[in-house]
Subunit: 445 residues, 2 copies
């Protein structure tokens, strides 16, 4: 297995194990005009063979981006593969929709290529040393625009984007579409490169639209997508309690990726970005790498889980000798993050795990504080936290749950979503599917 990606984020390297691609695939030259429009592909049976029975649709759906039920019209199918891509500051999130039905009208060559790509994506759980398919998040038999199928969730570091594009070029992935649909900052940064390298147009989905549409879709199509923590700080009593946010407008959405964006969502169609901070997931990981020698997010989280931030942070009790009654600040509130590190002795003896925990607590508290302020401003009592910072990060989720509850005296609730960082990519996929349907130029015709 190749090691192209030495990025410290959770291992990946999409398409670096390319054996499948290298066997007998005819790669069309995209610098020449496409031989014919590609309204769809025939997708071979899933190699996993474990799918629910596949319905065959000849109807066109009127369901829109919610997925929805099937109508009597034949579903439209844009060029495959059906991807939504969110190119963030640290991670690329890729959502791949594998339809259950066999699609008509494809050139033999495209069918073969689709089948190969499909097999590669769905028969692996990791790709190279930095790519991951989050198999536990997979959703089967979900509807998108009249198709039923399986949603696959894949992530790799944004630093691997150029490799991804290079492979798309050399291995013929780009032969199947004329357009890639992407959101996130990288959709802007990589547009030119993608056009130059693989002659693919990049359709940029709006980040906020994609995020909200993705939340709405998964909330609708995944029964227990959203939940809160009951007794977050009591390990023996703590439990996840499902809480659908479907009809719970308005709410605040706090998207914690590399940085943090805060949205006020007032309805399915009315939402706005209200705040942001640069102290997010990348700050946690960047500082942990510097301070502890951790190399990946998973390592940093594991380290933090073993640590005690009280050896690093100065608490209210360290300054006041106890609680600070006037402001109802309990003694164990952090008064000065990294405050003990002014002391040379303590600094010398600081353990990596304590430092990692302190970074985690610092970043998490700051996010909670900002979220709380935004919720108060907007007079909203539910705050939905998502983004890849929360992946395998119960520590932060529980801390946020407790903080929201404590500081609001039980009025505010912190809500979390199972699909963590994939909402933008899902929204982008939905847009690809409906843009194609609406004939806005995504289909190369």
């Amino acid at each position: 297995m190749l090691s192209w990606f030495s990025h410290p984020y959770p291992s990946l390297g999409v398409f670096d194990d390319m054996q499948d691609f290298e066997e007998g695939v005819d790669v069309p030259d995209r610098s020449k005009p496409a031989s014919a429009p590609k309204p769809g592909h025939v997708l071979a049976a899933s190699p996993a063979g474990d799918h629910v029975p596949r319905p065959r649709y000849t109807s066109r759906s009127a369901a829109g981006s919610d997925g929805g039920s099937l109508s009597s019209e034949a579903p439209f199918h844009p060029p495959m593969p059906w991807f939504g891509m969110d190119i963030g500051g640290s991670l690329v999130k890729l959502v791949y929709f594998e339809p259950e039905e066999v699609l008509p009208q494809d050139a033999e060559q495209d069918v073969e290529l689709s089948r190969t790509i499909h097999k590669y994506l769905t028969s692996n759980k990791t790709y190279g040393d930095t790519g991951i398919r989050d198999a536990h998040l997979e959703m089967r038999r979900v509807p998108i625009n009249g198709h039923f199928g399986t949603l696959h969730f894949i992530r790799f570091p944004s630093s691997a984007m150029e490799k991804f594009i290079f492979l798309a070029k050399t291995k013929g992935l780009s032969a199947l579409s004329s357009t890639i649909c992407a959101t996130g900052g990288g959709a802007f940064a990589y547009e030119k490169l993608i056009k130059q390298s693989v002659n693919l147009d990049l359709h940029k989905s709006d980040e906020i639209d994609s995020l909200v549409s993705g939340i709405h879709y998964l909330e609708l199509n995944h029964p227990e997508e959203s939940y809160f923590f009951e007794n977050p700080l009591d390990d023996s009593k703590c439990r996840k309690v499902p809480l659908s946010i479907r009809d719970l407008y308005p709410y605040i959405v706090v998207n914690v990726g590399s940085g943090v964006s805060v949205l006020l969502v007032e309805s399915r169609t009315k939402y706005q970005r209200v705040w942001g901070t640069s102290i997010g997931g990348a700050t946690f990981l960047g500082l942990c790498c510097l301070l502890t020698g951790a190399k990946t997010f998973d390592e940093a989280i594991a380290l933090a889980a073993k640590g005690d931030h009280r050896h690093v942070d100065k608490l209210v009790r360290d300054i006041y000798g106890g609680d600070y009654g006037r402001f109802q600040l309990p003694g164990d509130t952090v008064a000065a993050s990294f405050g003990h590190m002014l002391d040379p002795e303590r600094r010398k003896n600081a353990k990596p795990e304590d430092l990692a925990r302190a970074v985690l607590v610092t970043v998490t508290n700051n996010i909670g504080s900002m979220a709380m302020m935004c919720a108060m401003n907007a007079k909203v009592d539910k705050v939905v936290f998502l983004g890849n910072f929360l992946r395998i990060n119960d520590l932060s989720m529980k801390q946020l749950s407790h903080a929201m509850d404590f500081w609001s005296k039980g009025k505010f609730k912190a809500v979390f979503l199972e699909h963590e960082g994939y909402f933008g990519a899902v929204g982008c996929l939905l847009e690809y599917m409906s843009l194609a349907k609406a004939g806005t130029g995504v289909v190369d015709a």
Copy 2:
């Protein structure tokens, strides 16, 4: 010179150069009842000999804590020395008021002791290796409760508090008063120790009351206390412009010490703490010490001044390839603090000065963001920044000035105060002087 205090904060070590104290000073035993109430002391002429002519007052002032004009009553004088003390999370701020007039009625022994203490404090600019008198902040001929005199501003690390108490005991400083007036978290933490060690009662002034009263006093008695920066990011055009906040209520006060407190000040008597964050001056210094090997605040600031945070932080342009138009985010906005540190190569090559600058930018931006949100909530357009984090820290002041201006589209103004971190201590001194006057038990009678 002794080196008791190896604390990394700006050098001090108050009273470790105690020669003056060790020559012929009779130290009364405070465990026995005081022989007589001490309504005041005679203070000998200033050793500096450079004071403005000393008026002699026989009148009692009705000026209250503003200082104000002299009335026909003789001014009340509580036991000397006249201190206000703000024991913060990292630094102790000590304000010493040296009256110009000769005070009657003191025991000869107390006069001698006062004189010695006075000489020690005012003839030195540094004390040991961690104590500093900020001579440039000294204010002459200011009024407090009918007295005129000079205000001296001294700081030392909070980690030196026990040494300070110990010296107060062994060297007889405590013989002069029965009460010390202090504010800040340490006023709670050290209360018991001070009582046990030196049999002094600690009168705890409320932190917020002290701060606001100190701001009000210095604003009133120091002509160009408050100012803003014009053209903060243009070195050739940048200048400090005086702007009195005396009648400019309401305003937000952001006190950046170890942590950060945010107050909404609506009038001289109406104010409240509205927010806080643990990411403050101690976070800056703590992280700088860990990441760069800097040992003091001054070193860390000097390092940051030479650095470029763009090698450490991921900017909007690093993710978007340029500005992000939809949210009016310029390309040089930080998108993810420490975001480049996920890259092992960049991490390996990160220079201490770039890291120091990134920490400074991270902390400063976060404070600015929080201040901005608080100002918006309160519908207030002036934000007064103070606290020792801003000492010798033009970088942060200019960054805050620019940020407030830019994000509010010129509506909000960042205001700064010359006496940086001393407002709480001044307020505490004022309270001591008027508490004594009001007969609330500060005088041991």
